[in-house]
Amino acid sequence: MPKAKTFQDVILRLQDFWAKQGCLILQPTDVEVGAGTLNKHTFLRVLGPEPWCAAYVEPSRRPTDGRYGENPNRLQHYYQFQVVLKPAPGDVQNLYLDSLRALGMDPAMFDVRFVEDDWEHPGLGAWGLGWEVWAQGMEVTQFTYFQQCGGLELDRTCAELTYGLERLAMCIQDVDNVYDLVWAILPSGQKVTYGDVHKQDEYEWSHHNFTHADVGMYLKHFDDYYNQALALLKEELVLPAYDYALKCSHLFNILDARGAISVTERVDYIGRIRTLTKNCAETYLESRQKKGFSMLKGNDHA
């Protein structure tokens, strides 16, 4: 397989590869999130016994990672390609390696290695074991066997593959700076770079995240959204409630980048987010149970 020449080509090939493996190709959530794991297509769907295989791009916001567009690979906004496989297939590691081959990456050539990583997200009450996948020393994927989510032990182990698209593309295109990545080559032959698309974002959002985000407003919004989420949970409207929980998580990240949260408060805020996500997980699981886990088929029925 020839190398994926452009950033968008990486996305297209991954979608194509995982569609062929039986994944639904879904779309990102329209709420700001720190990672594809927070998208309901992963966070809620990993719960319960119903099989679920999906793949989607997730634009991810990490306010503290902003570097004003000056670091070669740290970004406050970047793209993940998220694959969630329930139940985890027995040959999932090989499937993953095949997906790299589909991008034109020979794992041997890139010295691909699986390096221990204990993944944990306190705000989601989630953890799993797996690896950072390295290609030439670059962490290009988080590979996790999900064990717990929303404080609930999972009925079935899920495999979660989270590709860092920029880093992967940097390896494939052999460029040292993310802004030099070729995003697309237009039919005219013109090259559009990642920098053309996103460099201004990085500069402006870094200033916003570190200096100009209105702390008072964010603190107030956090309380508003938190209360709204609780109210919705009382009505068993779990999907809207979950969106508000995500908003809280993002607001917390901004406040954290602004240095507005002390260590003591930090624990408290994370605790509140966990309360919401845990409640959402439990309520969602109950709602699926009430529907008799309608996506269970054939062999999946015990």
């Binding site: 570097r67 070669p72 740290r74 027995g90 794992p107 041997a108 890139f110 204990d118 260590v263």
Partner: protein, 709 residues
């Protein structure tokens, strides 16, 4: 006899878990085979990230037959009056799979009991081993385990194949969805196909040919050797890092060290940051020149045979560049405000819920540092630097670089202090106040560092014990034992003489509002806590010096007090000095002093002797006692004239030598006179003489507490 080959094929096992797991497997296998009466030859365990392998040579075809005598309840319970088995007796016999005619009576220390001979034919090894190996698989103690399929079996990472051969026979072992077979595979990318193996020898040959170096020691050796060569090629030396070697050898099934370079401009960033970026995140080795400065090169150990070394090195450089940029970013950001500013930010960092923030702790450290400066002979210069160091010592904890690299605490504090114009002594003190960080670590070299280290440690010990969180059993979450050992070692090495008790009570004053224990109770508890650590450190130091009777020396010395730890240290080593010079002389001396001490103590107890030791020497009438008195006076005079200008330890050695010199006279005294005579004045004079000797040694040790064999 057949060999056993057992390979657990896994997805990549975390490097740090491999060696402990292998060691456990070896011990467990040996124990379980012994318990199962299976005779065998050499047991070997080897492993890589993808396989844990147990190999046992020459396993017996079957278990050794069992033949033994078993005993049961007493005869009067097991047999009735007619000599027939009772219900209890029959139960015992049947539980051994025997019948009533097998029973006999046997005389034991417990009395006459029912007994029988049990003979058990050994089972075939192939029938016994599967159960043993399956249980072994299930019980390897990993820190964290996981599920990976619907069977819900757990292991550190998914098991994907099991190879299990006894001779050429596959043993039936099942784990989750995996069934043992006779196949293995080579390197993940270079030789992924599964192939059949027939024996340990063909297995080892197969791996060798297929890019798996099964022996971790061998991988380590090769990495070291080749990395050394590459470092030389880069014009420098491989930075010694045993720990990193141990990690890296278990990240690959076969090591291929590669040399890479980075841009010289990053060398402007402190080397500690660069080394941390390389080793913590990327597991790269650093390369230095002969001054221990970094060169712009690194060594990465690839896990797959590189097709293109240049591109592989370039790829790894790319990651390093981004990391270095980040280190440089934090280093740059950190310096945007003056270092003192970070002290205030410590308000946002909790030390402990009941004890406030790190800022509060810093304030307490300052008070206690000032206390030490006031109670020890120090220059004005040291005092002012110590005060400043105490104020700044924790400030680097809230900087970006330390946030990224916690292990650089202190190191960055030093850098930032210097950059914001602090004196070298202050900067050094900041770095040193964390010492010693672990057993065997260096101690603070400077007084400034040592004072702040002591202040920090006494505050932690007093405050944490004060809120009722003293260590219990093996649980010591605040590492108070380590803090106390560090404190003791610093005092010993520096010879700081001050009252531990007063230091503790001063520390209590500054946390009084937060503590739950009463101040006097707390003071005593902390004193005992530290004394116990001091005793341990002394015993350890004596053992290092190959001392005999070390427990005796330490307990005798501590018997007259430990409030001044530096003094205690001198006394113990003065005693040891004498003991090591002439152990026989020392033991006799000690027994003399013990005898003198006991007589004096008994006389005091019974009211024969007042506390003061004044007596009328003119009453002494025997030659031997007058000689003894003369020698005592000579010794005292000598000590007075020679004492000035020597160290405390030397003074104690002199004193002990003088007392040792009295020994022949004391011997004669005990041989020739009786102390407890009826003549009250004479008795008092003789008791007084002994009390005088006792007083001379009482500043060193209490010999009455000593037991000598």
């Amino acid at each position: 006899m057949p060999d056993l080959l057992f390979e657990i094929g896994c997805e990549e096992i975390p490097g740090g878990s491999i060696d402990p797991a292998l060691l456990w497997i070896k011990n467990e296998a040996e124990q379980k085979l012994a318990a199962a009466r299976l005779v065998h030859g050499e047991v070997k365990v080897l492993g890589t990230p993808r396989r844990l392998v147990l190999m046992i040579r020459d396993v017996a075809m079957s278990q050794t037959d069992l033949s033994m005598e078993v005993t049961g309840p007493k005869v009067e319970i097991a047999f009735d009056a007619q000599g027939k088995l009772t219900k209890a007796g029959l139960g015992f016999i049947q539980s051994k799979g025997l019948s009533s005619q097998d029973a006999f009576q046997k005389s034991t220390p417990k009395g006459l009991v029912i007994a029988a001979h049990v003979h058990e034919k050994g089972l075939a090894a192939k029938d016994v081993l599967p159960d043993i190996l399956t249980k072994l698989l299930q019980s390897i103690p990993f820190v964290k385990t996981m599920c990976w399929d619907d069977t819900k079996v757990t292991f550190i990472r998914p098991i994907r194949w099991i190879l299990c051969l006894l001779g050429e026979q596959v043993l039936p072992i099942f784990f989750g969805e995996v069934k043992a077979g006779h196949q293995t595979c080579g390197h993940r990318f270079l030789s992924p196909e599964f192939a059949k193996v027939e024996s340990i020898d063909t297995y080892l040959k197969f791996l060798e040919k297929n890019w798996v170096m099964l022996d971790g020691h061998k991988r380590r050796k090769i990495i070291l050797k080749e990395a050394d060569l590459l470092a030389k090629q880069a014009g420098g030396f491989l930075r010694q890092d045993e720990e990193l070697l141990d990690i890296v050898k278990n990240l690959v099934e076969y090591p291929w060290p590669i040399l890479g370079h980075f841009e010289e401009k990053y060398l402007e960033v402190p080397k500690e940051i660069l080394i941390s970026e390389m080793r913590e995140h990327q597991k790269y080795f650093a390369v230095t020149n002969n001054q221990d400065d970094l060169l712009a090169a690194f060594i990465v150990v690839a896990g797959t045979k590189p097709k293109d070394k240049v591109s592989l090195a370039a790829g790894n450089t790319r990651v390093l560049k981004a990391r270095f940029e980040d280190g440089a970013f934090y280093y740059h950001e950190d310096r945007k405000v003056s270092f003192v500013e970070y002290v205030h930010r410590l308000n946002n960092v909790l030390f402990q819920r009941e004890l406030g923030s790190l800022f509060n702790k810093t304030e307490r450290i300052q008070i206690l540092t000032d206390y030490l400066c006031a109670h020890l002979p120090v220059s004005k210069e040291v005092k002012s630097c110590a005060t400043k160091t105490a104020q700044l010592c924790k400030a680097d904890l809230v900087t970006g670089v330390v946030g990224q690299f916690p292990q650089l605490q202190g190191v960055m504090g030093r850098q930032y202090a210097l950059l914001s114009g602090e004196k070298e002594a202050t900067a050094q003190g900041i770095e040193e106040h964390y010492l010693p960080r672990f057993a065997g670590d260096a101690l603070p070299a400077s007084d400034v560092g040592a004072f702040v280290a002591l202040a920090d440690r006494i505050d932690t010990i007093v405050a944490i014990i004060g809120i009722g969180k003293a260590p219990k059993g093996s649980a010591d979450p605040f590492a108070l034992r380590r803090a106390a050992i560090g404190l003791v070692k610093i005092i010993f090495s520096k010879g700081y003489q001050f009252s531990l008790k007063h230091f503790i009570s001063h520390a209590i004053l500054s946390v009084e509002k937060s503590i739950v224990l009463k101040a006097d109770v707390l003071e005593e508890e902390v004193l005992q806590f530290i004394a116990a650590r001091a005793r341990g450190v002394l015993l350890e130091e004596l053992t290092e010096k190959k001392a005999n009777n070390s427990v005796l020396l330490v307990d005798a010395a501590m018997g007259v007090g430990f409030d001044d730890l530096a003094d205690l240290h001198c006394r113990v080593f003065a005693l040891n000095h004498l003991a090591q010079q002439d152990v026989q002389l020392f033991i006799q001396l000690v027994s003399n002093l013990k005898r003198a001490g006991n007589i004096v103590a008994k006389a005091r107890n019974e009211g024969f002797l007042a506390d003061d030791v004044a007596f009328d020497a003119a009453l002494l009438k025997e030659v031997c006692e007058r000689d003894l008195w003369r020698e005592i006076q000579l010794a005292q005079k000598k000590l007075e004239t020679e004492n000035s200008g020597t160290t405390s330890m030397q003074r104690y050695i002199d004193l002990l030598e003088q007392i040792a010199g009295l020994k022949p006279f004391v011997d004669r005294f005990f041989d020739e006179v009786m102390v407890m005579v009826d003549d009250v004045n004479l008795r008092n004079a003789r008791l007084g003489l002994l009390a005088k000797i006792q007083k001379m040694v009482s500043s060193i040790a209490d010999f009455t507490k000593i037991q000598i064999d």
